[in-house]
């Protein structure tokens, strides 16, 4: 098979990209940089609420991050992996009770009013803490924000809060919106949620439902000579094949977030004038995880869980499901995380004989039909890859005598079945690692979470040692000690397997050769694109 060598090469390239999250030369070396021009790109969904301070999700950031800016952005080479945006500096007090932000001078809102510390205080206290999907957790102990002057904001916490967590949360959780726009009326009903006003390099132009979003250049932007582009148009292309066709026809110049399906990449990479880029998503790592319902007595036995882990050929999954654009996982923190990852955890190499032995040992002998027991398997429908892995897992389980019945639902039904009704035995989920285990990772295994909370431990798993570890890490202020606790956490999760981490993947962009300065930070697709240009 000639196709195999290609996908193998791509696999190696893809894994290398995922692993190498530190400084690399900028990919965007298109001909000559030029001012102006209209960038048209594919959008596959239409977020209704475009306020990133309320909805911190990649779908919203994809559009809004060009309009509304955060205090800091992720960076390949900046200190602590950060680059300044609206804040120029940040410092945490030793007691963990305050963080001081020095803000950028001379920044104006799109309506001409000056940006000040009052806006930061308002956004943090009135929006991030009470309303934001992620901020409600990270900023739960935020008690006040002092504003001694227009360019200083001091966050005061009621309980010691690790500065490392706040720092890691900045790129995704700290979108600042204008106080003067939001202080009137109910924040959730503010018209600016659908037509955001920010400080970013682009202003919100118009939205035609089902057709496009139009962003226009902010001529008053604080960045010198930025932005380069005059306009950004997000063309809504709901069909899976549309983006690839539109790129080939030259109607769009960029398809980010894997809008071109992996299977089409081989073909599209041969089209002159287009290139396939797997860089620029290092800060947006998705994890392929087998969620386990520990209420099932078979699955409550760690031997059975270990057997399932041994039955999964992770390399095969990376090669066939992700066509190489992924890396195998060892535990709950992805390999490409520069701060927390440790490889020093128990691993489960692919070994069907061992898996069978473990199941025998656990007392689940094969019946006369070769089956040990039957399980209900629910793959999440959000990604092609989660569905395909569901098909693979079914076969892998069959090889060790576990008969898995596949149940396919649409998104809403899947969320309800797994996280509210717990009507599953195994589920395939794609949780996101957001730069710090405390943001959205520990919740996957921690006990005591209310029913109905998505992307959390709804499998009835309870491990007191692990809970204690998570609680301790959440109040440990020293960065090194905190990091060590999360390494301990990874070991414990990999040993007891409350869930099974199979692979880690990011997205792929397909871009025109004319597009320059792309993929130059770990969250590029959801960053502000002030320096992105279209060559002449």
């Amino acid at each position: 098979m000639s196709g195999f060598t290609i996908s193998r090469r791509k696999m190696l390239a893809g894994s290398a990209m995922l692993l190498a999250s530190t400084a690399m030369p900028t990919l965007g070396r298109a001909q000559t940089p030029k001012k102006g021009g209209r960038l048209v790109l594919a959008a596959d969904s239409e977020p209704r609420n475009l306020n990133p301070a309320i909805v911190a999700s990649n779908g919203v950031f994809f559009i809004s991050s060009k309009i509304v800016e955060t205090l800091a952005e992720a960076s390949f080479d900046g200190k602590d992996g950060l680059a300044p945006r609206l804040a120029l500096g940040w410092e945490g007090a030793a007691d963990g009770l305050s963080v001081t932000f020095k803000l950028r001078d001379g920044v104006k809102w799109h309506d001409g009013k000056p940006f000040t510390s009052a806006d930061v205080a308002f956004s943090a206290l009135q929006i991030w803490k009470p309303l934001q999907n992620l901020g409600r957790t990270v900023f739960k102990d935020l008690a006040a924000v002092d504003t001694p002057d227009d360019l200083t904001a001091v966050f005061k916490f009621a309980k010691p809060t690790p500065f490392q967590l706040i720092r890691n949360a900045l790129p995704a959780l700290s979108s600042v919106v204008p106080k003067h726009i939001y202080e009137v009326g109910k924040i959730e009903d503010n018209p600016a949620n659908n037509a955001p006003i920010g400080t970013g390099p682009f202003k919100f132009g118009e939205y035609k439902a089902g057709q496009y979003y139009r962003l226009t250049k902010n001529t008053d932007y604080w960045g010198k000579d930025e932005p380069w582009l005059d306009e950004i148009i997000y063309q809504v292309l709901p069909d899976r094949t549309s983006a690839a066709n539109a790129l080939e026809a030259g109607e769009i110049q960029l398809a980010a977030f894997s809008a071109v399906p992996l299977a089409d990449l081989g073909r599209i990479s041969k089209v002159p004038g287009l290139r396939v880029i797997s860089k620029g998503y290092e800060g947006l790592t998705y994890q392929l995880v087998v969620e386990i319902n520990h209420r099932r007595k078979e699955l409550a036995d760690v031997k059975v869980r270990q057997a399932i882990a041994h039955a999964i050929d992770k390399d095969f999954v990376v090669k066939t499901v992700f066509l190489g654009y992924a890396a195998t996982a060892t535990g709950p923190v992805p390999k490409n995380d520069p701060q927390f990852y440790t490889a020093d955890v128990p691993t489960y190499p692919f070994d069907v004989a061992k898996a069978n032995a473990l199941l025998d040992e656990a007392g689940y002998k094969k019946g006369p039909d070769g089956k040990r027991f039957t399980l209900k398997l629910l793959p999440a429908p959000y990604f092609n890859e989660t569905k395909q892995f569901g098909d693979y897992l079914r076969q892998a389980l069959a090889a060790i005598g576990i008969d898995a019945e596949l149940v396919n639902n649409d998104s809403a039904a899947h969320i309800k079945a797994v996280y509210t009704d717990h009507a599953f035995d195994l589920a395939v989920g794609p949780p996101v690692f957001r730069g710090d285990p405390a943001i959205s990772t520990t919740i996957l295994v921690q006990s005591g979470i209310a029913d109905g909370v998505p992307f959390s431990n709804q499998g009835g798993y309870k491990n007191d040692a692990l809970d204690a570890l998570i609680a301790k890490a959440s109040e440990t202020l020293d960065t090194t000690a905190r990091t060590d606790l999360y390494k301990e956490f990874q070991k414990e999760v990999a040993a007891d397997l409350p869930l099974i981490n199979v692979a880690e993947w990011s997205f792929i962009s397909v871009a025109s050769d004319k597009l320059g300065n792309i993929a130059n930070n770990p969250r590029w697709a959801v960053s502000n694109w002030a320096d992105t240009y279209l060559a002449g």
Binding site: N133, R136, A209, E248, D410
Partner: protein, 337 residues
Amino acid sequence: MAWPQPGFVMTRALTLIRRRLVGSIFVLLIVVIGTFLLLEAAPGDAVDAYIVSTGGDAGMIELLRHRWGLDQSELTRLANYLWALLHLDLGQSVTFSRPIRDVILERLPNTLLLMVSATALSFGLGSALGIYAGARPGSFRDRFLSIGSLALYAVPGFWLGLVLIVIFAVDLRWLPIGGIETLASDKTGRDRAVDIAVHLVLPVSALGFIYLALYLRMMRAGMAEAWRQDFVLAARARGLSRRRIVLSHIARNALLPLVTMLGLQSAQMLGGSVVIESVFSVPGLGRLAQEAVSARDTPLLLGIILTSAVLVILINLLVDIAYAFLDPRVGAGEAGA
């Protein structure tokens, strides 16, 4: 056969309209309640669909359910909806946070344009080719057209659409790959009309060609039957030309069932437009309905279904009126049955 008197047709049309309106109200009520119950039976609600992309803790989820009125019982919500509907209020879309009437009115013209053009294409070309084929039953052209159109009918709509895109938009670059008009082009007046027409060529072809076979084969079959009728023999005996017999005697008689089909077909066209609108990124009602289902936006879906139902009822009413006009034997009583 003589054309009926205009006054006579008008009276019958009015009777028809009155009867239809009364019946329609019950049909619409059943449609609304049925759709509501069906969507309620689907697992997961609008909040479940929403948190797929955001996540969120228990407090946030409770807050959302309350804000979107999903903490009320099904019966209360249905009653509230029907009460608002009585006041011609379609309600607020939970996903768009806008009045549903506005959301639908924005999309309706696109779907109508697509439907009417595609129907005109399949009906016009289908019946013309049907006459051409049926004029000489059993001839080579008859067989060729019958088989060719059947092949088109057997092709799935999305596939035909994709093939057309690959050939005419990607390879030849003659036509745009999708959308209803050039994005953010600021075109107005005639330029905009031309722009929209160019964008419609591919989706209308994809949708229209599929149903072409239906009209072609019906026309052909009707003609084949008409050939054996006495009035054809009489017309021949009178020495009329073959052309005249085919066009004004045989074809006209064979046209009647096609008009009935036109009404029935309108509902199918609406269904087919879901797929075509997605493939060609046309912002229409079909795609909106699909989005409403996956977002579990019950009031929005109800609004769309209601609009579609009214549309289908209106089209069938028009068809019946046309029928009464085409065939004087059809009285208002029979047509209204």
